[in-house]
Each structure stands twice: as structure tokens, then as C-alpha cells.
Amino acid sequence: MNPSERAFTGAWRLRGLLVRSTLAVIAASLLAGVLAVAYTAYATSQRAHLASQTRLAELLDTMESTLAVACFVKDQTLARELAQGLLDNSDVLAVSISTEDELLTEKHRGPVTGVPGGASLKRLIYSPFDKQKLVGQIVLTPDPKVINARISEEVWFATIQLSWQLGMVTFAVVLMMLLFIVRPIQAMSDRLHRMDPTAGDRLAIPGRHASTEIGQLVVDINALSDRLTGALAAERQLHLQGEVEEKKFHTIFDNAESGLFLMDNQGGVSSWNPAFASLFGIGQQTPDVVLPALNIKQLPWHSPQQMGELLQNALLQNNAVTQDLQVQMPGSGPSWINMVLRSVGDNLLQGVMHDVSHLKESEASARQLAVTDPLTGLANRQGLQDRLHAHVQEYAAAKKGGFALLLVNLDGFRRINEGMGLPAGDAILQATTRRLCACVNSDDTLARLGADNFGIILNQITQGEAVDRIVSRIVQAIRQPYFVDGSPMSLHASIGVALFPGDGFDVPSLLRQAELAMDSAKSAGGDSHVFFDPLLTEAAEQRRHMESDLRSAIRKQEFVLFYQPVIDLAAQRLCGAEALIRWRHPTRGLVMPDSFIPLAEKTGLVVEIGLLMLEVACQQLATWQSQGLDYTLSLNVSGRQIPEGLPPDKLQEVAQRYGISPSKLALELTEGVMLHDIEKSLSWLNAVHELGFKVYLDDFGTGYSSLSYLKLFPVDTLKVDKSFVLDMRDDSNEYTLVGAIISMGRSLGLDIVAEGVERLSHLTALQRMGCHYVQGYYFSRPVPAEEFDAVVARVTALLAAPKE
């Protein structure tokens, strides 16, 4: 709107307000005036008529008695005189006096002009002598002209007065309007047109209007301006914020790695982001491009039905539903998509999806790895068990047929692994795998359960004969020589067989039975196979029985140490003893270690027993020490005790507790124990040796003794195995061998103890070879502690007087 228009409109408006209010005042005034005049006219007329009537009546009153006389005697002359007298009054227009039967007189003023307007005054006249007797009447006609003149005079006067008053009122109203309303409004309007509320402009209150409605209006307008300005600012702020937020969300939406989309309950996708588009190779959705309707179910799902079910689930549930779905994109391999759907109300669903193909692959390979042996590529123990479970269920469902579980163990493999190194062992295992593969059908299962244990599931086996044939093939195959670094090696297999459903109905028992059978084959010397037999279970039961026996023996302290004296040949005296464990069984009597140590080792009880025996040995040493006897004592240590079962700290602690010098206690280990895990045993041996304990290498010569290891380990003393000593003759190899061991040990600075000295000839030969110490039946068999004193005496006697 340009200024001129505005001015026009403003002027028009202002004029309109003035004109209207003026017109309204005038109209109201006129109406009031007309009403007032009309009322005045009416009232005046009433009053005038009434006054006229009153006057006429009063006039008549004065003449009534005379009139009565005139009428009574019907005196026309008197009547005329009376009429004339009445007409002298200006109010009276005409007079008519009559008796009952005749008109006495009738008089008019001026000419008779029609019917007189005013109401005539008629009065009955009674006899002057009898007020009951009517004698005539008089009719007075008032003069309307006189009345009307009086009325119009009064009306005119009222009109003049009213007009003057109304004029004054109108003037005053218009003036007030102009001064107090129109002017201030005009000023406010002009100011409002120029005003910029956002710049802080506000209306000024017009002068003298501080407490008027105009002033209040200005205050209200200003307050409104404040509110509007505030609201506008807030709105602008919100708008800006909203834009920033929207941009942020858009950025997230557009750049999300996951596919995001929104769809209706029928699967119609209404919007999606670039990640979604690229997942399915469809067009980008932009505001400019309208893509054809897209339905989620029409995407290349491997199973569209699955997608539909997921959609239904999402609609039924309040929570998000998720599922991995396979997609078959044309022109590429199958891929997996993880879809999360969530209902967001209004029959709308929000979806998030991302490609989980890599995850699926990793999962699959992890699953594969979990059941695969990395060395041979066969199934591992878990894999075998899985297959067994599957087979058991399969057969249980079919209720026919059966299968065989074979456990194959390579005899002596551990020795090869220890002696020739792990690579050689691995090569043999791989070769074995190949041979086993050749022996079974393609639908059979081959697994490596660990170390040199293999498991085989033979399908569709109902009779032992079929198994026999295959097992023979396997035994035969394993017997073929292996070539390690070009040199041939022969191996044998121990095979245990369990049949399903004949031997067992569940996987754990099948595995146990096959293992029992295999153990049985191995115990029998290997290179054979054994079918599971309930008797094997019985044997296992016996072992369990014995195990609990062992535990109770530990509790009841049924284990004791026997002592076999060791003689110092140079000093020709008893210098100590080897402690040997015995079990004083309550029913079986004295049990030798061969009968229970293997089981104790297998079950780990040997650790506990070893610690008990350590206590006993130290106590014995303390006893000897207190008796002034400077004996040493050697204690056998099992492989299971190293290193955790017999920690060096514990050894030191016990020795200190009994107040004995560590050098008095020697620990005997076999080569096998030392070589089983060289790293561990070496650090253990070093620690023990550091503490001052002696280390004896037991049964020297029976294993794959390696001189290089001998130098590596902190060994103090070699114990030559009794088999060499027993077979020792002048001409025998053993003789030479013992001599060689002794000279070698001496050259390495080691002390030599020869075991198994039973005859004087042994003693003299060993003495001649320079052996330091001997022990054996020649001097004494192992004896309980309480008999040791007697043995000391016997040894002393023998040394003094040797006998054959």
C-alpha cells in the first residue's frame, strides 16, 4: 500500500468515524426531538382541551342557576342573553340551550364552518326547585382555533428549545470525538504505519490519555507488539533450529551405512536412503525424481514369504523385530541382509537393514573352524560329537540300521613326536589321515580328536563282520612304513570299536565305550582292535573303585615310605637311602607302586600323594638329623607333579619347616618326565636346583637318552637302571655300557648311582669302574623306617665282611 492510498484510507476512515458518530448523534437527537415534540404536542393538546373544558365548565358553573331558571320557565330571552354572555368568552365557539321539548336559543360566533373539531361540552340543567327534575340542557362548543393556536405555540416553543439543545449536544459530542478519539487514533494510526516493532519502536501514549481507554489501548498494543515480537523471534529461532536439525537428520539419513526406509503395512516403501538404494541397486530417491512404487516384498528375497512373515510380526509387536534374510541379487551371488523392523504407528513401519554377508561368512567359517582340526582338515572332537548326535537322532527317527564308532590310536606316536620333533609327528599324522581316508566310504566320518587319536564313524553298519573288514584294512594301512626325512618308520594302531545301537544309545556312552575298547587294545600291546565288551566297563568300574580307594587311602594316610639304603663306595659306608612309596591296604596288604601309581598319575591324585610323601621324607630326614646321621634321601617325582604339582616354593617351605638342608633331599626324575615338556621341566629343575635340592636322573639308559639334554638339565646324579646292572657280565655289552655310562657321567662331573646291585660281583665290578654309589638287594631291600636301624647295622657288617 503506497502512502497516498494509505492516507486516503486513513482520512476516509477518520471521516467515516466522525461522520458516523455525528450522524448517529444527529439521528438519535432528531428521533429524541421528534418524540419529544410529538409528546409535547400530544400533552399540550390534552392539556389545552382539558383547560378549555375546565374553563367552560367553570363558566357554566357561574351561569347554571340562571340557566336553570331560563329553562324552567323556557324563557328564550333570558336564554339568549345567557348565550350571548357565553360567546363573549373567546373559548366558546357556539352555544345551544334547549328545554326538553324546544330549543330556547342557538348562537354562533362568526359564520358556521362545518362541524366543530373539539368535543362539545354538554350539561344537563335541572329545575331550580327540584334537583331531580330535568328541565333542559346546554351545549357549549369550544373554539378549536383557540385551542390549536395554543397547542402550536407550545409545540413550536418546545421544538425551538429542543433543537437548540440537540445542536449543542451534537456539537459537543463531535468536538469530543474529534479531540479525544479521532485525533489520538489518527496519531496512533500514523505512528503505527511508520512503526517497526522488531526494531523496538513502540506507540507513545497521546497527551492527557494516560488514564483513558485510548491510553490503555496504546499500552495493550505495545504489550501485543512485545508479545508478537517475542513470538516472532522465538519462531525464527525455532525455524533456524529446525532447519539445522533437519539438515543434521538428513545428513545422517543420507550418509548412514545402513539402509533406512519407511513403509506402510502393505510393504509399500515410501522413502529410503542411498544406502538402501545401493543395497538393492535401485534408483536414488530425490525430491525431483519420482520413482515407481516400490514394495518391500518384491525385492529379490530368497524367500519372499519370510519377508512377509517378518512384516506381519513387526505389525503385531510393539518391539522391533529382526531377522537375517537372504537376498539373491541378479548377476551376483547370494548375500545376507539383517533387517530390523519396527512399527512407528499410523500403520507405518521403519526399517533398518545392512549387509551381513561378511558376518555370515565369518560365522560359517568360525563354525567350520570350531569343528575342524586345522592340521589334518578333519573334523575335530566337537565335529565328531556333532555328527554322532546327528546320527543318533537320525537312527532314532528311522528306527533301523546302525553305525560303528571307531577310535584309532597310534602306538608309540608320542615317542616319535618327542624323539623326532613335532614336524615329523605332524607329517605322520597327515599321512595317517590320508591312509584312513582311503579305508572308509565317502559318507563315513573321519575326525582327529587330538594328538594321535582319530575317530571314525562308519555308516550303515549292523554287524561286526563289516567293521572287521574295514578295521583290518585300517590296521594294514597303518602298518605300512612311514617315511620321515627319507627314513622308514613303522607304526601300529590300537583300535576300539563301539556299535550303535548295540552298545549304547547316546553319544557320551558310545564315546566312552569306544575309548574303553581302545584302551583295552592298547593294554593288550597294540596293533590290534577290540570291540567293546561289557567286561571293559567292568574293568573301568574297577578302576573307579580303586580310584575311590586311593582317595580314602590319602585321607586315612595309608601311604608309607620304605627306604632302600644307598652306599658310598668310596667312603665304604651307608650315605643315605631312596624313598619308595608303599600302600598299606587294609585288605590287600602291602601294595607296590606299579599297581596304583599309574592310576594315581592318570587321575592326578599323584600330586596329593607326592606332597604327603614329601612331608614324610622331610620328617625322616629331620629324624636322622636329630640322631646325628648325615644321610641323604632321594624321592621319586612323577611327570604329573611337574611343575605345578610340586612347586619349588612348596619344597623350600617344607624343608624349612622340618629344619633340613635342601642338599639332603634329592628328587628323582626319569628322562621321559624331563623330556615330556622340556621348557617347563627345565625351568622347574633350575628353580629346584637353585634352592639347593639335588636332582637325580632315574632309570638312565632305558629311554632315548640324549647327552645334549643331559648337559642342558641341572642334573647332579645319574641312576643307572637296574636292568643294566643285573645283566652285567664280564663279556656282555651291558658291562661295557655301564662302564661307558659311568665314565661318561664322571666326565660330565656327575655322580653315579648304580641300582640293582644283587651280587658281590656287581659290587666289585662297579667299584672297579669307578661308580660312586650303589643300592640293591645285596645290601637290603627297601624297608620301613622302623627297620632302617637294623639295615644300617647289616650294611656296615657287609661292608666290613663282604660275602657272596
Partner: protein, 141 residues
């Protein structure tokens, strides 16, 4: 004489009420009139009309102005005092249409006039009535 006078007075006094209160309207006994209403008497005596029921012109005759009977008569006839009746007649005298009754000078005069005037009509005390007159109207008690 004194005795007579007293007796007369007594008689008059005793009869007075009757006598004084009894003005009666009379006519010449020779007249044909035998009876008149009070209205007729009013009309005739106060000049409204002067015609007797017989067709004769009535000639009303008043007692002397000072006579008590006259006042009594008008009092009884129209309940007016003598001055009121005089005022009445003064208004009518102006127009001349009618005239007041004949004025007798004495009571006796009344009888004379009545006997001489055909159509004469007068009033007198009841006691004064004799054979020459006929009572045509008596005021009811």
C-alpha cells in the same frame, strides 16, 4: 278579656302547629278544579305556565310579603326561603316572559282576589278555608 286572650293564645298555640303548618292550596269553590298536584302548584306559582287543567288561565295569588304563611308555603312547596323566591323572580322580571303571582295586600285581600278572579288560585291556612273555597292540594305531613 285577659282570660280570653290567654285562652285564644292557648288555643292558637295548641293548634298553632297544625294551623301554621298547614297552608293549603285553594281555589274558588265555583271553579271546576277539584284537585291539583304539587308540581302543578309549583309550575303555576313560579311562572312556568299559567294554565289550569280545565283550560282556564291560572291566576296565582300570593299572601302578603310579610306573611309567615307565605314563607311557610314556599318553604313547603319548593323548599325556598322568601328571599330566594324573590331572587328567582328578579331574574325573570328582566325578560318579561312571565310575572310573579298577584300580590295581595292582606290575607283578606287574598280571599277577595280569589273570589273575584276566575282561574284564581291561592293558598291560605287550613283554618281560613270556608265554603267559598275548595282545597285542591294539601301538603303531606
Amino acid at each position: 278579656m285577659r282570660t280570653w286572650r290567654l285562652t285564644l293564645f292557648m288555643a292558637l298555640w295548641g293548634l298553632g302547629a297544625t294551623v301554621w303548618a298547614e297552608p293549603v292550596v285553594v281555589v274558588n269553590a265555583a271553579s271546576a278544579i277539584t284537585k291539583l298536584g304539587q308540581d302543578d302548584v309549583v309550575n303555576i306559582f313560579l311562572g312556568r305556565y299559567r294554565r289550569l287543567p280545565t283550560g282556564e288561565t291560572a291566576v296565582p295569588i300570593d299572601q302578603p310579603e310579610s306573611a309567615a304563611l307565605r314563607a311557610e308555603f314556599y318553604r313547603k312547596l319548593v323548599n325556598k326561603e322568601p328571599n330566594e323566591v324573590s331572587a328567582y323572580w328578579s331574574r325573570l322580571l328582566f325578560s318579561g316572559k312571565t310575572s310573579p303571582p298577584l300580590q295581595a295586600v292582606t290575607a283578606n285581600d287574598v280571599m277577595v282576589l280569589l273570589m273575584s278572579q276566575p282561574g284564581g288560585i291561592a293558598y291560605m291556612d287550613h283554618s281560613q278555608v270556608d265554603k267559598r273555597f275548595r282545597i285542591v292540594m294539601e301538603f303531606s305531613r
